[in-house]
């Protein structure tokens, strides 16, 4: 068995892979948060709950309608996105223009309601959700076993992040979004229906979270609290990346995931706090975050 810095190679690669998978979720979630924050100036605390909703939507679609993974991958984000649109129209839209902290508190309350309700209905324990047959099994890479499903998650999340990035950077809708992020009033004064844009953006962000939730379902259990602990790590990722930046959210997500994986190899005790330590250092050196601009 070969070793790298005294660590067996399979362990190293294995942990990097696991880090990459975690990083995929960090990236997808912080991307959604960044998009929502950029335009709505709201820290979407319900993001974790929406991720959980995505997983549950997949689970419920399977158990009550017999709808499988692939269709759920499309339907769950649509459902959750629709729920988010309703939330934005009925609640968040009343908070525009007042202190953004109220948005944080409102979405925090929403997260509690969603998680509490699902916990009440389904218990705190997770529900199993099987990976689709096409993606079960593992590849023997020689130095390690790679579960095919986990490989798929990494690829899928890269595609999703890239797709979202292209949508924002290269399309007309994306141009509205970027411009409105800088100066929403002016964009509206040009005749763009900004309220609609806000609604759609919130829906899109939530749908991204839900999509991540569906991807996560076969790896972790489908459980009411799956999002609530993740979301705080994602907050830290976002602070490190710099709040405004889409690219920052994506890159930081993956990088911190991998760093966390490496910590598991070299100093496992610190693995759960390494992201926060990095956050503290970044705050000291660059308060606006690695990719952020001082506001």
């Amino acid at each position: 068995m070969s070793t790298i810095f005294g660590v067996p190679a399979p362990a190293l690669y294995g942990q990097i892979l696991i880090g990459l998978i975690n990083g995929s979720f960090y990236a997808m979630l912080s991307l959604g948060l960044a998009v929502i924050f950029g335009l709505l100036r709201i820290i979407n605390f319900a993001h974790g709950a929406q991720y959980m909703l995505g997983a549950f939507a997949a689970y419920l679609l399977l158990s009550y309608a017999g709808i499988g993974y692939w269709l759920a991958l499309v339907l769950a984000p649509l459902i959750v996105g629709a729920v988010a649109v309703v939330i934005e129209r009925t609640m968040l839209s009343r908070l525009y223009g007042i202190d953004p902290l109220y948005g944080l508190l409102l979405t925090f309350g929403l997260a509690l309601i969603l998680e509490g309700a699902f916990r009440y209905w389904f218990g705190a324990a997770g529900q199993p959700y099987a990976a689709p047959a096409q993606l079960t099994g593992a590849l023997n890479l020689g130095f390690m076993f790679m579960p095919i499903y986990r490989g798929w998650v990494v690829v899928a999340s890269l595609v999703i992040c890239l797709g979202t990035w292209l949508l924002i950077e290269k399309t007309r809708l994306g141009a509205y979004l970027r411009a409105a992020t800088e100066n929403a009033t002016l964009v509206q004064a040009f005749g763009v229906n900004v309220p609609l844009l806000l609604t759609l953006t919130y829906g899109l962000g939530a749908a991204l979270a839900a999509l991540a939730g569906v991807l996560a379902a076969p790896i972790y259990q489908v459980s009411p609290l799956m999002g609530s602990n993740l979301i705080i790590i994602v907050f830290a990722v976002v602070v490190v990346g710099g709040m405004g930046s889409i690219l920052g959210a994506i890159v930081t997500g993956y990088v911190l995931g991998v760093l966390e994986g490496l910590t598991k190899v070299f100093y496992p005790e610190a693995s759960s706090i390494v992201i926060f330590v990095i956050m503290a250092i970044v705050l000291l050196v660059r308060p606006a975050g690695l990719f952020g601009r001082e506001e």
Partner: protein, 380 residues
């Protein structure tokens, strides 16, 4: 003959929504009710009442519920107490409050060891029994290098400690251990760590869904294909059912009761099944037995006062559907026979709940620690 405040109230305090909900949960409340019914519904001429609460596996939640039950709701005894951290907390509080607890859901030997109580009873399995049963079986089959995946609380520590001791006493070695929080979701990095340690057995010193998830993920990462074996040190019928025979087949495990062992068991199990939709495991049965025995002791003592009842509980032999010839040690440990089972292959299973092959019977005196070894100070 007197029962204080005109009712005998028994509290069932357990996990009803968390990772351990399947061990006992709401079905255990049903088991307790069955015991009351089988006893006749009344004791000393007053009704027997069962109350229950979900402690969410949090010792602070559990102890404040218990405190309030004792202080304001006239609860006389508390049973089940899933999870060692909770059981230790509530047993400690009850000791101060001079109230009886009968633990069936928690495993740590500390309940009848360092932290034993004159009013605390440990009524079902414990970590020593699991180490001897499941641990022993694996060591015998050549598992001599162990790596532990340990739940980060009293139960995990105790199970790891008992099993390590046992493994070492048989000439094996322990090459490492990692601790994970309760209800961790992803075990893959711990499993990789275990795999790279060169161990040939990964001891899962956790329980419930935690164990089930670890087993699933071990399969995903090809760990068992590599020849490393998994020791699910605490696994009951409920988890086997949840995991499915396909994934669970071949696992060896230790339990104190199985529905298919005798006609009597089958008959009881059917009744239970009708009420709850599932077959009982040793925890449901332990709670049933604890309630029953408590009521017997109250009846015999002629009062529900703690001291005389506790004294009788220590003295009376246990003879019911759960424990044959059970006896209670001075430290509160109820000693009865345990069994080593192996999970059947799917093709061997003839019905929905037909899951175990019995490998061996572990006599109670082997399964449980002697009072002298337990470290309980009460009895010296």
């Amino acid at each position: 003959q007197q029962a204080s405040d005109g009712v005998v109230k028994i509290g069932i305090l357990n996990d009803q929504s968390g990772v351990y909900a399947d061990f006992g949960g709401k079905s255990s409340v049903e088991a307790a009710r069955m015991a009351v019914q089988d006893f006749g519904g009344k004791v000393l001429g007053v009704p027997v009442e069962i109350v229950s609460a979900d402690h969410q596996n949090k010792p602070d939640v559990a102890s404040s519920i218990a405190r309030q039950w004792y202080d304001t709701e006239k609860v006389d005894a508390i049973m089940e107490l899933t999870t060692s951290s909770v059981a230790l907390a509530v047993q400690g509080l009850s000791k101060d409050k001079k109230k009886i607890t009968m633990t069936t859901g928690a495993a740590t030997t500390d309940l009848t060891g360092k932290q034993c109580s004159p009013y605390g009873f440990h009524w079902a399995y414990d970590t020593h029994a699991l180490a001897v049963g499941t641990g022993g079986a694996l060591v015998e089959n050549g598992g001599n290098k162990w790596f532990f995946l340990t739940a980060d609380y009293a139960f995990g520590y105790s199970l790891e400690e008992q099993t390590s001791k046992f493994v070492k006493s048989k000439g094996g070695q322990v090459v490492g251990a990692v601790r994970h929080p309760l209800a961790a979701t992803d075990y893959s990095s711990f499993l990789l760590q275990a795999q790279s340690s060169g161990a040939n057995v990964i001891g899962l010193a956790n329980a419930g869904l935690d164990t089930a998830n670890a087993i699933k993920q071990a399969a995903e990462f090809g760990i068992t294909q590599g020849g490393t074996r998994l020791a699910a040190l605490l696994f009951t019928l409920a988890e086997v059912k949840g995991l499915g025979l396909k994934a669970a087949q071949g696992l060896t495990l230790t339990e104190g009761w199985y529905w298919d062992q005798s006609d009597e068991n089958r008959a009881f199990a059917k009744k239970f099944m009708d009420k709850t939709g599932r077959m009982p495991n040793m925890i449901h049965m332990g709670t049933y037995s604890a309630v029953l025995q408590y009521l017997k002791a109250v009846e015999k003592a002629g009062t529900d006062a703690t001291e005389p009842v506790a004294k009788l509980l220590h003295e009376m032999p246990v003879q019911d559907i759960f424990a044959k010839n059970g006896k209670v040690l001075p430290n509160g440990r109820m000693v009865y026979d345990m069994y080593l089972f192996q999970v059947k292959k799917p093709e061997e299973s003839k019905s929905d709940w037909d899951m175990y092959k019995q490998l061996a019977k572990i006599p109670g005196d082997d399964a449980y620690l002697k009072v002298a070894e337990s470290g309980c100070q009460l009895t010296q």
